[in-house]
Subunit: 349 residues, 2 copies
């Protein structure tokens, strides 16, 4: 863990200016996390003139557990990754990631634009040796609890080897955060039969079959949320994974909107809705996307958590908590060791 | 329309043995359609020894509007397309498609295995000149009503040209069945910005921008069901399209299961469920996958509708009705003419 600011032992850097709402969301979420987790220290990165006035009370309340790190620039939500990398060397995003590189923070959380965050993280932190490309992993609610899936959009074209590397990294993360020994790994495809799929997926299946992973075979899109068997980790290239994720989000929105409309149709329906409200609410809370906010960038030599750009306080809090969990579980070290082992295993084969 | 059996004018061949339930589903669904549509004639294809005893009454009731065409073989639901093509020349599937080729039926409906149906249809019917590959198109419920999407799984790798051809065919189908002049066409991608996507998608976008189609740009997975603007047709390669479709099905199942569990949790929840039932049911009916059953194979010189293998009577009926609609709207002729026009336009450019 990072060198401590005080006598506590877990430090997260927060890109306080990132996301659609910037400090309006990042500050209250940060303070809520500090309150809930006495071991946590936060470095809020951004324009000191903006952040300091909002933190006068907190700097006293959480003395030593919260500090402001000034950064003079912001990366726009639509800014191109290459421009952000080139022109925004003092952005809140970049400085927050620098803190991870320098060992001053154990992880960084940002709701900034995904492309810029990924490009900056990759440039600053570098890749784990043996991993060619970073991947984005996140969690989806499922009938079995939840499913982890990667890559959710970092890579538009992936070779079989890339997919294999994603599986190795993802399985290690799932082991660590779910406390299970041998997570079931499925490969996303358009059918479960051997003949199905494109060349990359077929070749990746061979690599996975010959690995030490608990590979269960091809799974289809429905397995992300409601397959006929439980899968702990689903591996896909970033194009397919991202489309699947967004498709699920859309379906949930469509059903939510539809139910709302149906219960608003007339007085009788409204009454029924009122009576059913607590039940509907409890279920809605379970699959609330804010409870699943936070995607981890895997493959880098440091921990970066990407929050949804439109995250509210609850959602951003979830992302910070995810960072805390992954730091506590020492995910980066475990992944690095596992990647090394996998490589050694393959070289000896 | 096909040469008439009697004095009515629309004939569909039914692969009566196909699907998980065969004649148990195909026969009652066929009879229901005959009852609803006095212009309809059906040719039920399959083992006469199995079909005839179940149709004695119907052959009288719908005299001249229903006939049995014997076929001695069945294609298994897991049979490989190449084996079906080679060894099952007298299958109910093959004979039903032959009837379309021979002009005896205007369209064919089968719940048989997708791969075999596609391979057989392509072999028997041949492609529309100018189209390289067939694609599967279907309809999904959306907050705007519904969305058409293709390719849903016929092609695992698609070039930009293929995606463009899918768009031309799909738009023509949407025009015909939705009675709209200029359907909005979106290209499925992992972001709406120009820089997003793989090479094929970027190149397809260029082709679409320079076409006469009402191309609105990139759309993300959520646009299939709940995008921020209405899209009439969404184009994707078959791998991505299929994963998206199954992901949406899974999400709907997960939410359905979750709601059922929530309303079953305790007596109070059960009571609330009872009161909310009519509202929940009306909404469930609207997005009932059985009401969206039936995918069309586009690009062939004849109309083939694929029903879900696990279709029940209501679902299979929907697939037959889709066939009727597309025959009435003369979809194949319209697509062929449009493809010819598009080719001519490009050659003159």
């Amino acid at each position: 863990m990072a060198e401590s600011l005080g006598n506590v032992s877990l430090t997260i850097s927060i890109d306080a200016m990132g996301g659609d709402y910037g400090p309006d969301v990042t500050i209250p979420a940060s303070l809520a996390c500090l309150k809930n987790n006495p071991e946590l220290e936060l470095i809020l990165v951004g324009d000191e003139a903006v952040l300091a006035p909002r933190l006068t009370g907190a700097l006293l309340t959480y003395r030593g557990r919260i500090v402001i790190q000034h950064a003079s620039q912001c990366v726009g939500m639509d800014e191109s990754p290459s421009k952000a990398l080139k022109n925004k060397k003092d952005s809140s995003m970049r400085v927050a990631i620098n803190l991870v590189r320098d060992g001053r923070a154990d992880a960084c959380v940002s709701a900034g634009n995904t492309g810029a965050l990924m490009a900056t993280a990759r440039f600053v932190l570098k890749m784990i040796p043996g991993i060619d490309r970073p991947a984005i992993i996140s969690t989806l609610p499922s009938i079995y609890g939840h499913t982890h899936a990667l890559d959710l959009g970092a890579n538009v074209d992936c070779s079989a080897e890339h997919l294999f590397q994603f599986a190795v990294m993802g399985a290690e993360l799932v082991k660590a955060v779910e406390h299970i020994d041998n997570p079931k790994v499925g490969l996303l495809n358009i059918g479960e039969e051997d003949v199905k799929g494109n060349e990359q997926v077929k070749a990746a299946a061979k690599l996975l079959e010959n690995s030490s992973l608990n590979y269960i075979g091809y799974v289809e899109g429905d397995s992300l949320t409601a397959g006929h068997v439980k899968v702990d980790l689903i591996v896909a290239d970033g194009f397919v994974g991202n489309v699947a994720l967004k498709s699920i989000e859309g379906a949930a929105k469509m059903i939510g909107t539809g139910l709302k409309d149906a219960f608003g149709k007339n007085l009788l329906a409204q009454l029924a809705g009122l009576i059913a409200y607590p039940v509907l609410k409890s279920f809605k809370d379970r699959i609330d996307p804010r409870r699943y906010n936070g995607a981890s960038f895997l493959g880098l030599r440091g921990l970066v958590i990407k929050s949804h750009g439109g995250a509210d306080v609850l959602a951003f809090k979830t992302a910070i908590q995810l960072a805390v969990c992954e730091v506590e579980q020492d995910v980066i070290r475990k992944i690095s060791e596992q990647v090394e082992k996998s490589l050694a295993l393959r070289e000896s084969a």
